[in-house]
Amino acid sequence: MGIDIKLPIGLMFSILGLLLTVYGLITASNQAMYEKSLHVNINLWIGLTMLVFGGIMLLLSFKKKKKEGM
């Protein structure tokens, strides 16, 4: 049915990943905020994870499009 779901998944996780990565970097010096998460900058880590996942999904989606285009 029409759409390739990898594209919206890739887009959404790239956007969310970017958002949390940037937020993690901005708040990196905020010791009090990360006391809860055992002093792990969890925003940065999960943000990067989502960026990688979103990127892979986008890549797979573009590869599929190229294949279909040929």
Binding site: I9, F13, L20, T27, K36, S37, L38, N43, I46
Partner: protein
């Protein structure tokens, strides 16, 4: 509760981005919704991996996530019996032995399969029961979500109810089953990534798996169990008294591993519908198997954090407490959200709450999309307006009816949610009734697929007899400490079970056995009205075997099934 979370702009931003994408997917699919087949059956065009992830995602609803984390706290790794023995074998069986008939028969729903295989009355009974139960179930999960958001986040109950229902209605109305399925795939990933931070941080906090084992030992001993009870699965199931679940190995094996799980996974249209949407017979068979792969690892995502919560609860220094109900008992279903609160700073916290919202939506959209199909094809088309023969006109008409049924389903769900807020026991009640209906249904569908002699009268009577015996068993027995008649014993107190779960298992076992016996006996004495030609594609012995040679070996269902069963066995041994 006054100590609610303070969500920040970043948390709301994450949620809003998620909402935009789910609605956007519905919007993008709108232009393909030209006929009833596209809207209600997703045009039978889904790739196996999409259908497979949707299959597991729709099962990973809010009640599952909240309930299983709470069970992890109460029973420890024993809760994995709902997965490794209580789901995987049934999913493999559905894939290999039942999907060829569900898919190959061209039936558009499970009730319609019953119509093709048996007769109209068997279909009617199943369709009506399914429609009512599905919509009630959707209302109850909506209630559970709204009350959680109210108690913990301080959100307005009515607002979260209407808002979450409106989003689900939005994307299922726009894109039908395709939209529900595609969104379930997206929701699956957000549930996993959203809960991952809690799993990681809580494990780190207790010093990993071995640290968890060490800290659980004194807690288990204090409760009168062996030190490693919470981190093992089968080890202490020799007697019911040796484990917190209060059940012994054979009732787990027969009740959960066989009757309850086969009754749920192999007959519930909500689940089977995902596999029916696949683009080919091989893809339909692979759907439950692809779903089984992540399913086996779900316990690490939701049960393990629940077990860690038990350690936190017993260590005052952590400050971790579960909210209490009116009776002063901890509300175990709130374990997951209290863990989010314990460990997550702004940002990932929004992501974690989005994961809970996503799990709610995947479950509810599943209910709604199964309801509108059964309503349109099995009730409306059968009893109210049969097909006229003008195909183009019919398709258009039923598309409209499917759309209206979607709106109607959501409205009734909201009403059911308010009903649930009035009667606290309705959730227990519904789950009890569900297991009474599913177990006989499995017996009847199984006999229908594998014994061509089974007749329509026998199937119908078997279904009813199984349900009545289940009711009777529930009325005569009760679990220890039962405080309401919903839990059983409303006729007389003949037998007492140590825990409610044992009672549920045995209700299902009796129901399934009765249903099978009645159906077999009646099949032998009633006349088979269906000819062998009519039963072709519906019964094992009259259907040509599926030939998988056309696909490469690594894409074959048998290969996948062996892989799934091997991993499940390894996990069982590792956590024995």
């Amino acid at each position: 509760m006054t100590n609610s979370f303070n969500l920040e702009w970043i948390d709301y931003t994450v949620m809003i981005i998620y909402f935009m994408f789910v609605l956007g997917i519905g919007w993008a699919l709108k232009k393909y919704m030209k006929d009833a087949k596209a809207f209600l059956e997703a045009g039978r065009s889904m790739p196996a991996w999409v259908a497979g992830l949707a299959f597991i995602s729709t099962n990973l609803g809010a009640l599952e996530v909240m309930g299983m984390t709470g069970s992890g706290l109460k029973y420890g790794m024993l809760t994995t019996h709902f997965y490794w023995v209580g789901a995987i074998p049934a999913m493999v069986f559905l894939a290999l032995f039942m999907m060829p008939f569900y898919y190959g028969s061209k039936a558009r729903s499970v009730p319609e399969y019953l119509k093709l295989r048996y007769d109209e009355k068997t279909r009617g009974l199943n369709a009506i029961l399914f429609a009512v139960m599905t919509i009630l179930a959707s209302g109850i999960s909506m209630y559970a979500l709204a009350i959680l958001m109210e108690k913990v986040l301080g959100w307005n109950f009515h607002m979260s109810l209407v808002l979450s229902a409106a989003v689900v209605l939005g994307y299922t109305y726009l894109g039908g089953l395709s939209s529900a399925i595609y969104n379930e795939v997206l929701q699956f990933f957000i549930i996993v990534l959203g809960l991952l931070p809690v799993v990681f941080l809580s494990l780190k906090d207790v010093g990993g798996w071995s640290g968890l084992q060490d800290q659980l030992a004194p807690i288990a001993t204090a409760k009168g169990f062996a030190a490693d009870t919470w981190t093992t699965t089968w080890k202490y199931t020799g007697t019911a008294a040796a484990n917190p679940m209060g059940v012994e190995w054979y009732s787990i094996f027969a009740g959960l591993g066989f009757v309850l799980s086969f009754g749920y996974w192999c007959t519930n249209f909500l689940i089977v519908q995902r596999a029916m949407s696949a683009h080919s017979t091989v893809a339909a068979r692979n759907t439950p198997l692809i779903g089984a792969l992540p399913k086996m690892f779900v316990p690490f995502l939701i049960i393990v954090p629940g077990i860690i919560a038990l350690v936190l609860m017993n260590n005052p220094a952590t400050g971790f407490k579960l909210p209490l109900n009116e009776a002063g008992q901890p509300i175990y279903d709130y374990t997951i959200i209290m863990l989010l609160k314990q460990y997550l700073p702004a940002g990932v916290l929004g992501l974690g709450i989005t994961a809970l919202l996503a799990s709610f939506m995947s479950g509810m959209a599943g209910n709604v999309s199964a309801f509108n199909t059964v309503w349109t094809y099995d009730i409306y088309q059968s009893y109210i307006r049969p097909v006229t023969g003008n195909k183009a006109d019919d398709e258009k008409h039923y598309l409209g009816v499917g759309r209206l049924a979607t709106i109607f389903g959501v409205i009734v769900s909201i009403a059911a949610a308010y009903l649930a807020s009035l009667f606290g026991n309705i959730m227990d009640f519904l789950q009890t009734i569900f297991s009474m209906i599913n177990a006989p249904l499995f017996a009847v569908i199984f006999l229908g697929m594998f014994w061509k002699r089974t007749t329509g009268h026998a199937a119908f009577t078997g279904l009813l007899a199984g349900f009545l015996v289940a009711l009777l068993h529930h009325g005569l027995t009760f679990p220890a400490g039962a405080d309401t008649l919903v839990k059983g014993g409303w006729i007389a107190h003949v037998h007492q079970y140590p825990v409610e779960m044992a009672q549920n298992f045995w209700t299902a076992i009796y129901a399934c056995a009765t249903s099978a016996t009645v159906a077999v006996v009646l099949s032998l004495i009633t006349k088979q009205k269906k000819s062998d030609i009519e039963l072709k594609g519906l019964v094992y012995s009259l259907t040509p075997k599926v030939h998988e040679e056309v696909v490469p070996w690594y894409k074959r269902s048998t290969t996948l099934a062996i892989l799934v069963l091997t991993i499940a066995t390894v996990l069982t041994i590792l956590f024995w």
